[in-house]
Amino acid sequence: MLAIKLGFTVMLFFVFEGMILAQDTSNLMNQLEKEVAQNETVYTTATFKSTRIINGHSIETLPAHVLDLRISHRFGPVSSGIYNFFGLDNATMRLGFDYGINSNIMVGVGHSTYQKTYDAFFKAKILRQSTGKLIMPVTATFVSAIALNSLKPRDFDSKPDSGVDINRASYVFQLLIGRKFSGKFSLQIMPTFIHADNISFLHNEHNIFAIGIGGKHKISKRISFNAEYYYQLPGNKAPGSHNVLSFGIDIGTGGHVFQLHFTNSMGLTEKSFITETTGRWDHSDVLFGFNISRVFQLKKKRINN
C-alpha cells in the first residue's frame, strides 16, 4: 500500500517536473521581457513625416546635427487657365535651411520671394508622447518665428509723418500639440499668436489670434495624406484675408521628402499664410505647390565598437 502510494507520488512528481522544465524557458523569457518593458519608456516617433505639415510647422523637430535644405514653391491659381499655364507661370518660392541643434531643439532661416521676406525661427519640443514607464499622451512643441518684410514701403507707409518705424517685422508664437493616434493617423492643434506688420497688407489689428488644426493619414509605407487649416479668431481678421486650407501628400524616399499640395495661400511664412491669404477655395483660387526637403547628417553619432 505504502509502496503504491510512494510510487504514485514519485510519478506525479516527475510529471510535474517535466512540465516545469518545459515551460521554464518560455516563462522565464516572458518574465525577462516584461521586466525590461516595464523599465523602459518608448517614445513615439514619426508622428508626421516632415517638420512641416503643409505650410505650417508640425510637432516634429530634426534629429541632432541634421541639416535640412528646404525648397518650397507656390504657384498661381490653377483657375488662371492655360495662359498662365494653370498658375505655373507665376511662382513664389522659399529657400530655407533648418538645423537640429539637439534632438529636441531646431532652428531655421529662409528667404521667400513673397513680399521679399527673410525669416528665422526657433522650435523646441516641450513634451514627447510616450508609453511604457513614462506615459505621455501628447507631444508639444513651441515655435517662435520672426519675419522681415523687405519690400519697399507702400505710399501710406512712407508718409513723412509716419517716421522711420514702418513696422517691417512680424512675430509668430505657436504651441503645437499633437498626438499619433495609431500607426496611420496623427492629429495636431496649433494655437497661434501673430503680431503682423503693415507694410504690404493692411492689418487693422496687429495682434491676431488663430487656431490651426492639421492631420496626417498614412496611405502606404512611404506616402501619407495631409490636411491643414488655420482659423483666424473673429474680430482680428484683416479685410480681404481668408482662412488658409490646404490638402497634400507626403512622399518619403529616404533622404528626401516631397510634399505636393493644393492650398489657397501663396505666402510661405506663418504671418503670410495665416493672416494674408487672399485666395478662396469657393472662388477656385486654389493653387498648386510643393516642398522638397533634403536632409544631410553633418555630424555622425558615435556608436561604440
Binding site: T9, D24, T25, M29, E33, T45, K221, G252, G254, I303
Partner: protein, 189 residues
C-alpha cells in the same frame, strides 16, 4: 495517514527546491549586443543594439533572443528613423525573436574554462516573418563567466523587408548579423 500525506508533500516540495537550485541551468542577459552590417556601393550601413535579452539553458541547449527594433542605433539619425518607419515598421513589429537550440550542448563543459564551436538552429522572426536558420557560434567560459558569439547572414527578402527601387543600389539584400552576449547565471527563486 495524515502524517504520510504531510511527509510526501514536504518531500515533494523539498525535491522541487533542490531541483530548482541544482538543475536550473539558466543563464541570461539583458544587455546582449546585436549589430548588423551591410556593405553597399554607396555606403556601408551599420547599427548597434545593446539591449538584447537572451536566455540560454545549458542543460537542454535552448537558446532564446528578444531584440527591440527601436533599440538599434545608427551613426546617422535620419537613417535610424527610416529604418524604423520605412523598413522594419517597428511600431507594427516592435521586436525580433529567436527561438532555437544549440546542438550537442552536452559537449560543452560549463564547469571549467574553455571555448567551444557550436551549431545553432532555430527560428528567427524579423518584421513579422519567421524563417528557420542555422548558424555557427562560439561559447566560451572564462573564470566561470559564460559568453557567446555568432556571426551569420540573412537575406532581407526572406523577411518581407522591401527596398524601394530608388535606393536599391544603396542597400544590400544581404545583411551580416553579429551577436555577442555575456551571460549571468540566473539565481533561482
Amino acid at each position: 495517514m495524515r502524517k504520510k500525506i504531510i511527509y510526501s508533500a514536504v518531500f515533494f516540495l523539498f525535491t522541487i527546491c533542490v531541483e530548482g537550485n541544482c538543475f536550473s541551468q539558466e543563464y541570461f542577459t539583458k544587455n546582449g549586443r546585436i549589430s548588423f552590417f551591410s556593405k553597399a556601393t554607396l555606403e556601408n550601413i551599420t547599427a548597434d543594439n545593446n539591449q538584447a535579452i537572451s536566455l540560454l539553458n545549458t542543460q537542454t541547449g535552448e537558446l532564446r533572443f528578444h531584440v527591440l527594433i527601436n533599440a538599434f542605433h545608427f551613426p546617422k539619425a535620419m537613417m535610424e528613423q527610416h529604418f524604423n518607419t520605412d523598413y522594419m515598421e517597428s511600431e507594427k513589429y516592435p521586436s525580433s525573436k529567436f527561438k532555437g537550440t544549440i546542438a550537442e550542448i552536452n559537449k560543452v563543459d560549463f564547469s571549467k574554462d574553455g571555448s567551444y564551436k557550436v551549431n545553432v538552429n532555430g527560428s528567427l522572426e524579423i518584421h513579422g516573418a519567421s524563417k528557420n536558420i542555422t548558424g555557427v557560434g562560439a561559447i566560451s567560459i572564462k573564470d566561470g563567466k559564460l559568453s557567446a558569439t555568432s556571426v551569420f547572414k540573412i537575406i532581407l527578402k526572406d523577411y518581407n523587408i522591401d527596398i524601394p527601387s530608388i535606393v536599391i543600389n544603396n542597400i544590400s539584400q544581404q545583411i551580416e548579423i553579429i551577436v555577442s552576449c555575456q551571460y549571468e547565471k540566473r539565481m533561482s527563486n
